[in-house]
Symmetry: C2
Subunit: 231 residues, 2 copies
DNA sequence: AGGCATTCGTGCGCGCGTTCACAAAGTCCG
DNA sequence: CGGACTTTGTGAACGCGCGCACGAATGCCT
């Protein structure tokens, strides 16, 4: 087992696919599969086999020619590369419709992202309990972030309050934000932001739907980051 | 006003940005802004000005040199290009935690994606009412899709049932799917699939968080499809 | 009317990511 | 033990999207 890796830079596109491989590999491990080929993994992930090999090669040469990859070891390596060897507690800002669904969703904790806290600005929301987590006032954000060592914040407020939520998060020391509000957030340098915008997704689908109507049936290009696909 | 457009192919990356421009332009229109420059729009969208101009040029030459773009007209053009001149009713499969949050969210209807129906396989869920929509049994899916002319389906079932849900949707005639379950869906040719995987998003953030720890503070590349950003 | 400032539209080069194709490496079996 | 077979790892070609840079068009001011 190698002691220290050289930490080469991994392309963004690859980083976005590693979690998909990881999920599939964990499933395979649960089904007692011990080894998998790039072809096999590619099929399950819905991507090209060469892409799989190149992606995995960024982690090092952990395959065995003529055989494939040892599932358990690959799981370990990807986990390590993605920084999933320890938990990343998250704090959710906004305990509305969506915030409650997120907080109540067990999948996050299972995957290493326990909900360290849920905060809201509305006094009537504060104090209520969602899936065992008590909603606290947004003024407690700093304290939650510091005592629970939170690096990742989730913005689930109305669009008008999203920038304020992001400001409070970064001020509290959070360095990564997952934004569900349909607004472009301005954040200081060095802060990572990813957004999930359902309306945008639907509108992209709408574009291809409309196109399908206009011209005769036509193949839809698969989208970047492995986000879209058509088979 | 041009009568018919030549229907050139629009790059995927551009299609993914048009909804963002659209949202911003609608906001500007609401604030009585009549005209906007590519620079102004670029700033609000957090992208390069040349990119904005190139993106908009796919719609046609609708800008005025020395002035900018007429907001209202641009809204109309983007709407038209994205196929948002009429509503696209959607059907939600899975009335759980997430499905209820989605159905209860008014933002979809406002943006032209009214919820035509919510279906579930669990008899105890069937009949309950979410935000005015009655949950129906999944066996009614075909009927809903046909009578309401649904083209877009949303999968909000547990991962184990997601493929089944997708199969039922395509069999019912749906040609676009938005998938929230963390699985790779297999669908027939010509069906568009986009996925929203929160665990993947968090794991990508985790990667950069971990990296930030290892090496000294470092700029995070903005991600594809305009999904990530850092400022 | 003319000149100046502004902003669009786009040709072009560059860098990144995808894919092909193949040699190297290792397995498996007779 | 050797040869056939399998599968990896990666060099190289390709294509796409990004951003610069600049000509062209238009408005505005004197
Ligand atoms: N619910 C969905 O299915 C869904 C789907 C797509 C997008 N979204 C987006 O997610 C966001 C949340 O949606 P929702 O349906 O949960 O809205 P919601 O109105 O139900 O909840 C928003 C919550 O944020 C709280 N809040 C407001 N300002 C705040 C502030 N400054 N700081 C902290 N908390 C604050 C409110 O008190 C409220 O509890 C919105 O931006 C929405 O556009 C939601
Ligand atoms: N809740 C969240 O915040 C969240 C976050 C990320 C991802 N997800 C994903 O979204 C999906 C739904 O999550 P959830 O929390 O709503 O789960 P849930 O268990 O609360 O709801 C799932 C619903 O789907 C129904 N269902 C099961 N099999 C079905 C079938 N074959 N056809 C139709 N309906 C069926 C169930 O009866 C249930 O009502 C899951 O795949 C989950 O991983 C949810």
């Amino acid at each position: 087992m190698p002691v220290e890796r050289p930490r080469r830079r991994i392309p963004e596109a690859t980083v976005a696919r590693l979690p998909v491989y990881l999920r599939i590999l964990i499933e395979q491990a649960n089904e007692e599969v011990e080894s998998i080929s790039s072809d096999g993994l590619a099929e399950l992930a819905g991507v090209n086999a060469a892409k799989v090999r190149k992606d995995l090669s960024y982690l090092g040469s952990y395959g065995t020619r003529g055989v494939g990859y040892e599932v358990a070891f690959l799981v370990y390596q990807i986990r390590r590369e993605l920084g999933l060897t320890h938990d990343w507690p998250v704090v959710i800002v906004g305990a509305g419709n969506l915030g409650q669904a997120l907080a109540g969703y067990g999948g996050f904790g299972q995957r290493g992202f326990p909900v360290a806290g849920v905060v809201d600005i509305d006094p009537s929301k504060v104090g209520s309990v969602i899936a065992g987590v008590r909603v606290r006032h947004i003024d407690d954000l700093d304290q939650i972030v510091q005592t629970r060592h939170v690096n990742i914040g989730v913005v689930a407020t109305p669009p008008s309050a999203a920038q304020d939520a992001a400001d409070r998060l970064t001020r509290a020391g959070v360095t990564s934000i997952l934004n569900f509000a349909p607004v472009v957030l301005a954040v200081p340098n060095g802060i990572s932001v990813r957004k999930v915008d359902l309306a945008v997704e639907l509108q992209i689908l709408s574009y291809y739907e409309q196109r399908r109507m206009g011209v005769g049936l036509q193949a839809i290009g698969s989208s970047d980051s492995g986000r879209g696909a058509s088979a």
